[in-house]
């Protein structure tokens, strides 16, 4: 592992999966080349089903034939395997800072993500309103976290993007989609100015530009999912 050779590297992803984008961006930060395989989640491939039999989900990183699953575990793996050699680090070096980064990544996945996803999935105005409030509360917590962690710099990772930038930045296309579909701003400049500045800055980075799709693609996929769910209810 110390030589950081790429070996045989495949990433099973889906073009609007924010979790897959975390991994693509991590690999981009490290300057590592890989084969990207687009999965049709309505018709999952044998490769996906055999490499992630427990969850049958993307992303899966397959390195020299061995699968790694769960986006944050994959990002940590990428950070560890391709370390040194002048490559940028994704997680901080200090154990306390690492614990803080992991805490907020966990918060993003356990509290923030279900809240804004819930806005899209809500079937009543009341339910949607509840999820909007939950999302806004989560954004306020993340705004505070940014001010504590970034220490006046441009990213959660400081001068350059790090673990939390990837963990949160992956959702930008979907925030754009929600703006287009509901007129809803997940990160409002008026109430979360630091995050709003960060979002714009992150979107301008090479790694985000290379990986993140246009919000229109997310909107199109959301419509496809809606149609699929509606067909199940007939």
């Amino acid at each position: 592992m110390a030589d950081g050779k790429e070996g045989d590297l495949k990433l099973l992803g889906m073009h609007v999966s924010p979790f897959a984008h975390r991994v693509s961006m991590a690999l981009g930060v490290k300057g590592v080349r890989y084969e990207y395989i687009e999965e049709d989640l309505f018709h999952k491939s044998e490769l996906l089903l055999s490499s992630n039999p427990v969850h049958k989900k993307v992303p899966v990183l397959i390195h020299d034939g061995r699968p790694i699953c769960e986006s944050l575990a994959i990002v940590e793996y990428v950070d560890e395997v391709w370390s040194g050699d002048g490559r940028p680090a994704i997680l901080p070096a200090d154990p306390y800072e690492r614990a803080i980064a992991r805490f907020w990544a966990s918060y993003i996945d356990d509290k923030f993500f279900p809240a804004w996803l819930g806005i899209m999935r809500a079937t009543t105005e009341e339910a949607r309103g509840e999820k909007v409030k939950e999302t806004q509360d989560a954004v306020q917590n993340l705004e505070k976290a940014f001010s504590e962690i970034a220490g006046g710099k441009g990213f959660f990772g400081g001068d350059t993007v790090g673990y939390l930038d990837l963990a949160l930045g992956c959702f930008l296309p979907w925030f754009g989609a929600m703006r287009m579909m509901f007129g809803l701003e997940v990160i409002e400049a008026a109430t979360a100015p630091l995050l709003a500045g960060w979002a714009e800055r992150f979107g301008e980075t090479a790694v985000a530009k290379e990986v993140l799709p246009e919000p229109e693609k997310a909107v199109a996929y959301a419509k496809k999912l809606q149609a699929y769910r509606a067909s199940l209810n007939k």
Partner: protein, 235 residues
């Protein structure tokens, strides 16, 4: 890092499996710490100020700085006290990723439904959560095989990260039969996990830290009755 000047406080509560994980980690490393027992119905200023986001135990306070979320705390202990006692996560990045995968699985697929068993307001809810728990145990048996590679622990010959993450729940696993009528780790269905549980229970750290099973049974019965009786939870 080693020596008498380590200031470690653990804000916890006896019944919590999450707190138990951290206690196991601290004991395995041979670290001294001050244990602060919270009354979760009357949370202390210390807890509220050190974990303002979740207001939950455990919180490890190291030299005045709080670390929250049990899995994150265990990893912090592993990294910060790397020279002391056993290592929890393996050295190899691939094996580390596999360990993280199974720790996440335990949290999402086993512990989360397990918690819902106690908080369920209806029998249907409780039965559904119980079904999910047992399904997860079956999958976890395969996870044990993958991680242990024929040895006694998820970590191989010695206890590792996943052992600690699952180990925190052992007293509840033992209480399951009294609470639900079925063994959680049944030697007839999941022999590897059943044997693991016995093996883990023999460790000094386990004997020191794991809660008394009868006390857990009583606590579990109380929680189930309390939540089933109320139409809305005040947690």
């Amino acid at each position: 890092m080693a020596g008498a000047n380590i200031e470690l406080k653990l804000v916890g509560q006896w019944a919590s499996v999450f707190v138990t994980r951290v206690k196991l980690a601290l004991h395995l490393k041979g670290l001294n710490y001050e244990s602060i027992e919270e009354d979760l119905r009357n949370k202390s200023e210390l807890l509220l100020s050190s974990n303002p986001v979740h207001k939950a135990v455990p919180v490890l306070i190291h030299n005045g700085k709080p670390i929250c979320e049990s899995q994150i705390i265990v990893e912090y202990i592993d990294e910060t006290f790397a020279g002391i006692g056993p290592s929890f996560l393996p050295a190899d990045p691939y094996e580390r990723a596999v360990a993280r995968f199974w720790a996440a699985y335990i949290e999402e697929k086993l512990v989360a439904p397990w918690d819902r068993v106690f908080r369920a307001k209806t029998n249907e809810e409780r039965d559904e959560a119980t079904r999910k728990m047992f399904a997860a145990v079956d999958v976890l048996e395969g996870g044990f095989k993958e991680c242990s590679k024929g040895k006694g622990f998820f970590g191989g010959d010695n206890i590792g990260y996943v052992d600690i993450i699952l180990g925190g729940a052992i007293s509840y696993a033992k209480a399951a039969e009294a609470l639900s009528g079925a063994k959680l780790f049944d030697a007839a269905k999941t022999p590897l996990l059943a044997a693991w549980m016995e093996r883990f229970s023999e460790l000094d750290a386990a004997k020191t830290v794991l809660q008394d099973v009868d006390r857990v049974v009583e606590h579990g019965k109380m929680l189930i009755a309390k939540n089933a009786a109320q139409p809305s939870t005040t947690d």
